[in-house]
């Protein structure tokens, strides 16, 4: 078919190439646009940005630190959605992990064992979701709505009556190193929590491109029947993905808990929506089959820039609306670019 290659190479018009380019690089352009708009806006008047510049070192570090939880979560969540499934319990799993981690630390457990134990909690929470969806065959949305309530309920129960979160007081004191993980710059001024998010994302990119699990996720989401007939154990694939999401939710919980210096049972509220938005913004199809881990990571950066940036431009009560509008714009144009036709 060599002559065909030569022919179509010539035939492919500029319009087609522009379209392919836009489809592939769209999300990066959006990120650049958001950054440009936010950094040219006049922010001097606002006290949060002392140097009055969105692109200031301080502000960038600030945004990236706050973003650590969603950045940690985006990759695994993308793979799960590519396989055609969803996890609405991530926010509650994150809250529960934050509470467990804070409880362990405040009771004197050192960093490494507390960290490891919280990750194990994440594995269990993910495995429960996988069990409900695959073994008990409960629709993913319903199953994870159930665990959304359950996990949050447990997190609330773990916190003592009359207290809003696990924090110093009542004879117990949070050790001083507790928020190092989430706040203390270790490289380029950024804390461990952020670098863990980067490492997790890199790992998920490797999983997506270079491991069986990634290939099987795409196959399962693209065509479950064909996947089964091709010898793929789709059940095991999906359970593994739920566990991965659970682990990432635990890591996100640790990051959030350390950043806020407390174990708040409500700290993950709304995280499931943010995760879905980020993944959709990154171009993953809701129906499964398609999507890129890296693009979700970029999507998370866009959302967080907008959220934090908006805080400085408009009153706080406008923020959600503006973020929603910006997302609508992004998603609609993404749809136009990637619309399927020849």
């Amino acid at each position: 078919m060599t002559h065909a290659t030569a022919q179509t190479g010539v035939e492919r018009g500029f319009g087609q190439r522009l379209k392919t380019f836009l489809k592939d690089y769209y999300i990066y352009l959006v990120l650049i646009a958001v950054v440009v708009v936010l950094s040219t806006a006049n922010l001097d008047k606002f006290p949060l940005f002392e140097r009055g510049n969105f692109l200031s070192e301080r502000n960038i570090i600030n945004i990236l630190r706050i973003s650590a939880p969603i950045l940690t979560l985006a990759g695994a969540f993308t793979l799960l959605m590519i396989s055609g499934y969803i996890d609405l319990s991530v926010g509650s799993a994150m809250s529960l992990s934050a509470v467990v981690y804070a409880m362990l630390v405040i009771n004197g457990v050192p960093f490494v064992p507390a960290f490891a134990a919280t990750v194990v909690v994440g594995v269990i929470l993910g495995a429960i979701n996988g069990f409900l969806v695959i073994r008990l065959k409960i629709t993913p949305v319903i199953a994870t709505l159930i665990t959304l309530s359950l996990y949050k309920g447990i997190a609330l129960l773990l916190v003592e009556d009359g207290v809003s979160a696990i924090k110093s007081g009542g004879g117990l004191k949070m050790p001083g190193w507790f928020n190092d993980y989430g706040r203390d710059g270790v490289l380029l001024g950024l804390p461990w929590a952020f670098w863990v998010a980067v490492l997790v994302t890199l790992a998920m990119i490797v999983v997506q491109d270079r491991m069986k699990l990634g290939k099987y996720a795409a196959a399962t989401g693209g065509n479950p029947t064909a996947a089964e007939l091709s010898g793929i154990n789709t059940k095991r694939t999906v359970i593994t993905l739920y566990i991965l999401v659970g682990i990432c939710a635990a890591l996100a919980g640790i990051a959030r808990s350390s950043f806020m210096s407390l174990g708040d049972p409500l700290s993950g509220d709304g995280m499931e929506l943010t995760a879905i938005l980020v993944v959709l913004l990154g171009g993953t199809a809701f129906s499964g089959g398609e999507g890129r881990v890296l693009k979700s990571f970029i999507g998370a950066l866009i959302i967080m820039s907008l959220t934090v940036g908006m805080l400085t431009l408009v009153p706080a009560y406008f923020q959600t609306l503006v973020v929603g509008a910006a997302l609508l714009l992004a998603a609609a144009s993404n749809h136009l670019v990637s619309r399927k036709d020849d």
Binding site: M1, Q7, D209, R210, K212, A218, G222, E228, L229, S230
Partner: protein
């Protein structure tokens, strides 16, 4: 029902033609259908019956020619048009809503409303009467989910009848029914005919045609062969002769002697559909399973592949039956499924991502997938199988049917199979790609590996297979060694239920 003059034809088709690129599926066909008759449409697969049905129901637009219903020109663009024109269809997949009652299903889409609010009308009485007239055994208030497939079918027929259809098309309505249910359906069809409805009945089962039909139209290779009263047809032999003509050419080339060296042995295979299926496949042999839709070919393939539950003894290379496709692939069996787009192909993935999916471990080192290797493998298979594409990065969705099928075949070849199960390997594939796929199958068998072809195209099994098993109603009715002396009318007689013949 609409009052009509007796002379008016229920349906009149004139010079109807449908062209596809490179193929004339229906070639200047003309015939009339008398009112209040059961008119049968017969022909082999690919004879053009379904294309005609699709034009009648508005799913396809004719290239040329005209249709008239009760003397009025008829040009449907949608099922809705067809319904308004008085033609209802009983599709093979049922379109009833399980969660609603029979009555709600019957009135669906015909509800009378004012400002969006439902208002009482005589509609419910009318449909209840229609239902009672054709099948009193069904309770209008029963939930459809509690009905059997046969009863759901009758609900659909009642819906067509009560929406004022003068013609109801039934395409293979008995494929999923038991014998008793078939009898009941026939009763319904006769009562419909007596109440002023014309039925166009399509079936491969010739016995049904003789039992039920008033007139028959025979199609062959897109052409109209004959339309006449069944009373004037001289039994099965004449009908089969009209269906087949002398047109079946088969280019079977004997492939030399195949030693008696069984790799696959199946003994007493039973499942929900299969009855005591037994056979052997030797190394290097191409075996054919020929039968009509619903004869059990797909079920045999899926049982061997571990995709369906089944009982019986299956031995492949000394190992027992695979319990899952995963096990089957590991033991060296690969399946090209019947439905390419829904069962075989990942249309949302590129060619290169599709090819290795059945055997990903082959491209992984220590769990890490070798991307460059995947690309070179994909290129190798694209050129080896002659997949027409400018790049291995092309999405499978954008390929033609023939090239998609080659990608599915490439998946199986990459899985290092020793036994290929090919279910309808060339359905929807153009002629050129067809013969290329046949050559690939022969090459595969020539290396000493085995192939089972499951096909409802006689030409395909006659052109390709060394031995052919004829299936009817879940059983293997006969085994035939392919060769120049194959008796085609006898084969057709057996697969249409014409009794057992010696092996």
């Amino acid at each position: 029902m609409v009052q009509t003059a007796l002379a008016e034809k229920a349906l009149s088709i004139k010079d109807l033609t449908k062209d596809y690129p490179g193929v004339r599926a229906v070639d200047t066909v003309s015939f009339d259908i008398e009112p209040n008759t059961v008119h049968c449409l017969v022909g082999e697969n690919g004879a053009g019956k379904s294309t005609i049905v699709k034009m009648l129901t508005g799913a396809l637009e004719p290239t040329s020619g005209t249709m008239a219903v009760l003397g009025k020109p008829y040009q449907p663009n949608s099922t809705q048009d067809a319904r308004n024109g008085g033609i209802g269809t009983l599709f093979q997949e049922l379109h009833v809503v399980d969660q609603l009652t029979v009555l709600e299903n019957l009135t669906m889409g015909m509800e009378v409303s004012r400002f969006g609010f439902l208002i009482k009308s005589d509609l419910e009485d009318r449909v209840t009467k229609t239902l009672a007239a054709i099948e009193p055994g069904i309770d209008p208030n029963a939930r459809v989910s509690s009905l059997s497939v046969a009863q759901k079918q009758i609900v659909e027929i009642a819906r067509a009848a009560s929406s004022g259809a003068n013609i109801i098309i039934m395409d293979e309505p008995t494929a999923a029914l038991s014998e008793r249910e078939v009898e009941r359906l026939f009763g319904v069809i006769r009562r419909l005919r007596d109440s002023d409805v014309t039925v166009i009945y399509i079936s491969h089962k010739l016995d049904e045609i003789f039992e039920l039909g008033d007139n028959v139209t025979v199609m062959r290779d897109g052409k109209h062969i004959a339309t006449k009263p069944l009373a004037q047809v001289n039994g099965r032999p004449e009908l089969i002769e009209m269906m087949v003509g002398r047109s079946i050419t088969h280019d079977y080339r004997p492939r030399g002697d195949i030693a008696d060296n069984p790799v696959l042995t199946v003994k007493g295979l039973n499942s929900h559909l299969l009855k005591d299926v037994s056979f052997q496949v030797n190394a290097g042999e191409i075996i054919g399973f020929y039968g009509l839709v619903g004869a059990g070919k797909t079920e045999v393939a899926r049982a061997i592949y571990g995709a369906d539950k089944a009982h019986g003894q299956v031995t492949f290379k000394g190992r027992p039956r695979a319990r899952s496709p995963k096990e089957a692939i590991a033991s060296g069996i690969a399946l090209v499924p019947e439905e390419r787009r829904t069962e075989g192909l990942f249309t949302a993935l590129t060619i290169r991502r599709n090819i290795p999916i059945m055997n990903i471990n082959k491209l992984a080192k220590f769990g890490i997938f070798q991307d460059d290797q995947e690309k070179s493998v994909a290129k190798e298979y694209v050129s080896k199988l002659g997949i027409a594409t400018n790049s291995v990065e092309k999405y499978a969705e954008k390929l033609s049917g023939g090239n998609q099928q080659k990608v599915v075949l490439a998946k199986c070849l990459f899985a290092d199979a020793d036994l290929l199960l090919l279910d309808e390997p060339t359905r929807g594939v153009d002629v050129g790609a067809k013969s290329e796929i046949y050559d690939l199958i022969r090459d595969f068998a020539n290396t000493g590996r085995a192939v089972c072809v499951f096909s409802s195209e006689l030409e395909e099994v006659l052109g390709l297979c060394d031995r052919i098993f004829l299936m009817y109603d879940g059983r293997v009715e006969a085994e035939i060694r392919n060769g120049a002396t194959v008796d085609i009318p006898k084969i057709l007689n057996i697969v249409t239920g014409g009794g057992k013949a010696g092996t």
